[in-house]
Assembly symmetry: C2
DNA sequence: TATTGTTATACTCTATAACTATA
DNA sequence: TATAGTTATAGAGTATAACAATA
C-alpha cells in the first residue's frame, strides 16, 4: 500500500483511512465479497479484515450480509453511500485511485524489487545476528 | 513516507521498521540531532519521536547523549552498529534509500498533488457532512 | 479435516494534552 | 513565557494463536 501524509489527511476528511479505502475499492470492482477474499487480495490476515470491516460498518460504508450458500461466510457489501463515494473517487480522478491502490508500477520500482535481494544480503552481512533476535 | 509490504518485511529482518529507519537516515546525513529536530524533519509529533528513539536505543542503533549547551535537550547519536548498517544501506544500493525516504518524486506524483484539491472538492460534495463527524 | 470468521492478546505508529525541567 | 522531552491516554493497523461454526 502506497501512502503519504497528504493522502492520509485527505481520506480522513472523508471519514476514511487508507486501509479501509482499499477494502471499499475492492468491493467496488469485485462486488460483494467474503472477508477471506478481501484478506487474500490485500495480503493481510483475516483478523485485520475483521477490524477494517467493523470500522466501515460503524461509519455506514458497508454492511455484512448472509452468504447465500456458505453459512460460515459473510458478504461484505457496499451501502449506497459507500458506492457513491467510491464511484466519484474512481470516475472523477483516475490518478487518485491509481496512486492509492496500485503501488509503484514504474521502472524505478521494478529495479528496486529486482535489486532488493542483493541489498539485503549486503546489509545482513553487516548486522550482528544476535541483535536481530531481539525482534 | 512511502512503504510497501516487501520493504516492511525487509527492514524487519534487519531489526528495523520504516519509521525507525527514517530516524537513522536523518542521523546519518545530519549527524547527532535533538528529538525536536528529528520530529520537525519527519513532520511528526515530539511524542512519536520519543517512542521511535526508545525502540532504537533498546535495539542498539542509537544512544541518547547530553546536549553540550542545552540541558533540556538530548542528542540522539548513532552507535557504531547503527552507523555501519546505515552506511551499507546508503552506499550499496542508492535506490533502496531513495525509494524508502524520498516519497514519489515522479511526474505522476506531481500530477497527483496538483489535482488533489479538485478531486477532494468533488468527493466532499458527495459525502454527507454529518457522517464525517463520526471521526 | 479444512475453512471462515471471531475473540484474545500484543506490538508499532500516530496524535493531543498535561506536566517537568530548563531556557 | 517559550521550548524539549516525558507520561498519560487513545485510536488505527497489523500479527499470531486458540476457538466455534460450518463445510
Amino acid at each position: 500500500m502506497l501512502v503519504n501524509a497528504d493522502m492520509t489527511a485527505s481520506l480522513g476528511r472523508l471519514g476514511l483511512t487508507a486501509s479501509r479505502t482499499t477494502v471499499l475499492w475492492h468491493l467496488l470492482h469485485r462486488g460483494p465479497s467474503t472477508q477471506k477474499t478481501i484478506a487474500d487480495a490485500m495480503s493481510v490476515s483475516a483478523r485485520t479484515v475483521t477490524g477494517l470491516v467493523d470500522g466501515l460498518v460503524a461509519t455506514g460504508f458497508v454492511t455484512r450480509e448472509a452468504h447465500p450458500t456458505d453459512r460460515r461466510a459473510i458478504l461484505v457489501t457496499l451501502t449506497p453511500h459507500g458506492t457513491e463515494v467510491m464511484g466519484v473517487m474512481a470516475e472523477q480522478h483516475p490518478q487518485f485511485a491509481h496512486l492509492l491502490f496500485d503501488d509503484l508500477s514504474s521502472e524505478t520500482y521494478a529495479q528496486f524489487v529486482a535489486g532488493l535481494d542483493h541489498v539485503l544480503a549486503q546489509l545482513r552481512a553487516h548486522v550482528d545476528p544476535t541483535d536481530r533476535e531481539h525482534r
